[in-house]
């Protein structure tokens, strides 16, 4: 995982990270019993630093380097994990909470996007709108 100075500067009290994620998502992270179903169904698991279940574990253990992982940005909010979780956890919202913790500190994930004029004309708008909604605070 790459280190990011701005993200490393975000400070939490002991247990503060999981408390904030729970408040933003409305989900009880301690319900997760690490069955791995979410990671098994995640379409982007091969490219992620941590699986969704690992990310949840990191949050509970106060390991705030989870905010440095590419996992939370690879997540496309496809809801597959949320649909399959046997504990009925909405992992999609948990991932969004982790993104929001970073974004609300004004740390954007997308810089100015350099793409060709042709691409700008052919890529459907909804891709741009959702990219900016997800990656910019």
């Amino acid at each position: 995982m790459e280190s990011n100075k701005e993200i490393d500067a975000i400070k939490f009290k002991e247990g503060g990270l999981v408390a904030e994620v729970e408040e933003l998502s409305g989900e009880n992270l301690f319900a997760c019993y690490q069955c791995g179903t979410c990671s098994a169904g995640c379409p982007f698991i091969d490219d992620m630093d941590l699986g969704p279940d690992e990310a949840i574990r990191y949050v509970i253990l106060d390991r705030k380097e989870v905010l440095n992982s590419n996992t939370i940005w690879m997540c496309a909010s496809c809801y597959t994990c949320a649909e399959r979780c046997p504990r009925d956890l909405n992992i999609t919202k948990i991932m969004e909470a982790l993104r929001q913790i970073v974004l609300r500190k004004k740390i954007d994930h997308t810089k100015v996007v350099k793409i060709s004029k042709k691409e700008k004309e052919t890529i459907p708008q909804l891709a741009f709108v959702s990219l900016f909604r997800k990656n910019i605070g």
Binding site: S77, C78, T80, T110, A127
Partner: protein, 293 residues
């Protein structure tokens, strides 16, 4: 039947052909669709944090304008718009306090009364018109075409807004059967296409396209049918780019379900706007004798 229609931004630009073919088939089926006035972009992704009401404003404003038009139903063609509008609709119905806050904030708009039902066009075709009715009107069955249905995410998840079963959907397969095509099932028919990663991480999306379609092509599928404009771009345009990455991969044409209905009903292929696709969808239709060469 007259139905109010919410386009969303992409249907007016990169997915004009989806809109054109949908209007053509409504006409052929003897119904009317009318674009609603004063709609705005829905914001594409539903608000996912509990404290965020700001991102519900855009979808809610469009729902208010449906009520202003004196209607209580609105149909959409875009999967993502449908999902976002439905989720906002649910949120304000579940938490009346939030609706009050949103209504007060939008003080220049009328209050939303919570009477609107949001429908995806596929739901409308299945539940209100009926696939058996469409089947009776088929003049030009898609004989010999082996098609893989692809659903993507937004039609089926989260469960509260799904139009079919989230793990084993059948709506597109049922439609294809009614049109005379052979349905090739594919376990990855519900996997995410990669969505907005197509902007900054093209290779990731090409990998997705390869994974999603390769299994179906191995089973003999010669085309795929889908509903979402972004899925179409990712599986068609980015899928073509996957040919450079994977030696075992050959891109198959993508069709919107509205285009296939139009062809099966005997409408002129020009209403389908096939020229907007990367892999020419007319070649397969001509090869199978479904349209004239």
């Amino acid at each position: 039947m007259k139905l109010l229609y919410y386009p969303g931004c992409t249907l007016k630009t990169s997915a004009k052909n989806l809109e054109k073919s949908a209007f053509a088939i409504m006409d052929a089926l003897g119904h009317e669709m009318v674009e609603m006035e004063d709609w705005n972009c829905c914001g594409v992704v539903a608000s996912l944090t509990d404290d965020d009401l700001m991102h519900h404003l855009a979808p809610l404003r469009s729902l208010i304008h449906v009520e202003d038009a004196g209607e209580n139903r609105v149909v959409t063609l875009c999967d993502m718009c449908c999902n976002t509008l439905k989720q906002t609709n649910l949120r304000v119905k579940e938490i009346p306090g939030d609706l009050e806050t949103l209504n007060l904030f939008m003080d220049r708009e009328n209050d939303y009364k919570g009477t609107v039902e949001v429908l995806h066009f596929l739901e409308f075709l299945r539940d209100e018109i009926g696939f058996d009715v469409i089947k009776k009107k088929v003049k030009n069955p898609l004989k010999g075409m082996k098609i893989m249905p692809y659903y993507g995410c937004m039609l089926l998840r989260p469960r509260e807004v799904a139009i079919d079963d989230a793990e084993e959907p059948t709506i597109l397969g049922d439609l294809l059967s009614a049109l005379g095509a052979e349905v090739i099932d594919n376990p990855f028919k519900i996997e995410c296409c990669g969505s907005y990663h197509t902007v900054e991480n093209k290779e990731l999306v090409s990998k997705r396209a390869h994974r999603i379609t390769n299994f179906a092509t191995e089973r003999g599928s010669d085309a795929m049918v889908l509903s979402c404009p972004l899925c179409r771009f990712n599986l068609d345009t980015r899928g073509k780019e996957a040919e450079k990455m994977f030696k075992d991969y050959k891109q198959i044409p993508t069709y919107y379900y509205t285009q296939l209905i139009a062809i099966a009903l005997g409408l002129d292929p020009s209403v389908c706007g096939f020229e907007e696709h990367t892999v020419d969808p007319t070649l397969l239709l001509k090869e199978k004798g479904v349209i004239k060469k």
